[in-house]
Symmetry: C2
Subunit: 399 residues, 2 copies
């Protein structure tokens, strides 16, 4: 058994030679650290021809972007590897393949996805991947259905809930999504001009009660094994391909949290586009994002219902009409969690390129304002939006 | 460490001498097996003066009323002892005290409650305990609030959910509550004359979809550490005293399941009284039961809200108005689970004295019919009953 040590590039190459599963390990010669996230080291391992061959990812024992003052469990590497492995079982076409995991080093080896690009980066540039929304809907349906009570034996479900208990990563979400943006917290980060808007969130009774409900359901509703952080930066895309990565927030939670996070990041892009692209391209891009929102939900819902009809093993949940009734609750949760994603990415600490890359400060402020306002609208309306077309109508109305 | 063996009365006496915690162990001389339940041996241990001093309860490795062909985990003794111990922490006045537990023998030692009587037996005789309903509401509020996300630290809550995972006992509920009565199952047991009524449950779309939702929430909603079987046979009463016992179904589930089970058994008595007592006493008894229903809910809700206001540690859930909003969902669950309790005790296999002791067969059939009909009404109405007065109006309307 190896003891934990932080990898250097040379360590990563050596590790990839031993555990990378490549045919010609001796050819692996170089590592480039590409981790742009907040929590981990990510090494791309190249061979002597300069071709990237595998990824070596190591969890750090603290939050990378904050430093050693914010320690964080290494067990999240296990949770990520095991979540991705479960999701790969049910949706190999849209889940990165984990080929090796070492609990002592908190290291995993994964397939190289250099042929892909991070979806957020593409969305920010105005690049369009017409199949991505449907593929993300497929990923959500396959992974969430197959880890739900519809299909897992009740004994297995309970054991899986215990296996995926993830207190420290859940706590980050509990704080950053549901607490900080609705209080006057030092971690919050928004333009000074939006102080009145941000302050108004803290005293909006209906909003705070709705957010409390969303947090409570995040605590208590163990519906399926979530990805837990399926934003557009956790998704690789290429022509006709989509792969989910970065599942260290995986745990059994409400299905609408994953679907809402996915839709939320499309809507953050929708709100940011007027600041990122010239007016005409921005307007076209916004229409594409609304189509993406429709496509993610419609594909998710249609595939989930088809799976429920074909594969539900629980005799009560299999009754015709129940899956539809359940999806109506998932839909309401989806809109609510989508709204919290819009707000935590603008009022809270974790900002994204869709807003950060807007160069004009006044424009950036207005894009952030529209994102916060839309987030609030969605949280408040969550129980009263008939369907995805009604949702899109509300989004257009919100500006 | 002792190995499991089934206790004889002599074993139970010897065990009580060693672990009973009495001042004069040598005086313990005799044991009487009083287990009338389906799952366990229960010994009352007497001293030489013929006074009962402690209870020794041992789990059997199979369902007692069925036999060794239905094996059942001995771990349920741990789950019972630990659930009662947790509940005792928060509501010592209404929880039986467990003084010793032995995992190898699946044995626990508990305080003797010979001064008390099982509530169901009293209800069947028409004996009234005016404080019992409020005390049961207090027990439900204290135990369910203090084991909920309102007050447990999120890390502790998740660890507790794992500690109380209870697959085998939950499976009994999953089958007997939510499957059997709504299918043509060999375990079902109802008067032949009610075949058309029972058959109609199996094809009532709205009912089956509602029951699927209740089962799904029983699977997935880890709101608090439930007693899991808090019917009137799990409750001891005496003048101004009430004690909950028999918590081997304890697990983290929906709060409305416990509250609904409690109300359900009061309503089973309500439905049975016309067959148990002369008309005038029956009518008076029924009014008392409706008062009990009101009192259980009102006490539970008022105490839960007072605890939420005074002791909520989660900053989001503490927002004024949230606990009230949450209790509206608990109320809907309560009515639904109450309905499933009425049906599983009449159509399903586990019958109770409130019906079994009705001597006149035609009358018994009519009482059972009214119970099934009321159960169906409640399940279908669960989301649309404004408050406890509206519930009582519906119960009167149902006949």
């Amino acid at each position: 058994m190896s003891q934990y040590r932080t990898f250097t590039a040379a360590d990563a190459v050596e590790y990839a030679r031993e555990f990378g599963g490549v045919d010609d390990p001796a050819s692996l010669s170089e590592a480039q650290e590409i981790g742009d996230g907040n929590l981990n080291l990510v090494f791309k391992i190249f061979d002597r021809q300069g071709k990237s061959r595998v990824i070596v990812k190591q969890a750090l024992p603290y939050v990378r972007c904050v430093g050693e003052s914010w320690p964080l469990t290494l067990d999240r590497a296990r949770l990520e590897a095991e979540t991705l492995t479960e999701h790969y079982k049910y949706c190999p076409q849209h889940t990165v393949k984990v080929t090796h995991y070492d609990p002592q080093l908190a290291v995993m080896v994964m397939e190289d996805l250099s042929s892909h690009r991070i979806w957020r980066g593409e969305l920010v540039k105005g690049a369009y991947y017409p199949q991505a929304a449907a593929q993300l809907g497929e990923y959500l349906a396959q992974t969430l259905f197959h880890t739900s009570d519809f299909v897992l034996h009740p004994h297995q479900k309970k054991a899986e809930v215990a296996r995926f208990i993830n207190p420290e990563m859940c706590e980050i979400t509990e704080d950053l999504f549901f607490n900080d943006p609705y209080t006057d917290h030092a971690r919050n980060n928004y333009p000074q001009a939006l102080e009145p808007l941000a302050a108004s969130l803290r005293t909006d009774d209906a909003l705070k009660i709705a957010v409390a409900g969303l947090k409570h359901r995040f605590f208590a509703h163990a519906e399926a094994l979530l990805h837990g952080d399926i934003h557009s930066g956790s998704v690789f895309v290429a022509d006709n391909s989509l792969k989910a990565i970065d599942a260290e927030f995986g745990y059994f939670g409400p299905i609408g949290f994953d679907v809402g996070t996915a839709l939320g990041n499309l809507l953050i892009n929708y709100c940011g586009l007027p600041g990122l692209l010239p007016p005409r391209e921005a307007a076209e891009g916004r229409e594409l994002r609304l189509n993406d929102v429709r496509e993610v939900w419609n594909t998710f819902a249609a595939r989930f219902l088809a799976l429920a009809e074909a594969k539900t093993s629980d005799v009560a949940l299999a009754y015709p009409g129940y899956a539809q009734a359940f999806l109506r609750k998932v839909w309401a949760d989806t809109i609510g969690y989508c709204g919290t994603e819009l707000i935590r990415r603008t009022v809270g600490m974790s900002h994204v390129a869709d807003m950060k890359l807007i160069k004009d400060e006044a424009m950036r402020t207005e894009c952030i304002r529209s994102c916060i306002t839309l987030g609030r609208t969605l949280i408040l309306a969550a129980d009263h939006v008939e369907d995805v077309d009604a949702l899109i109508a509300r989004i257009r109305q919100a500006g």
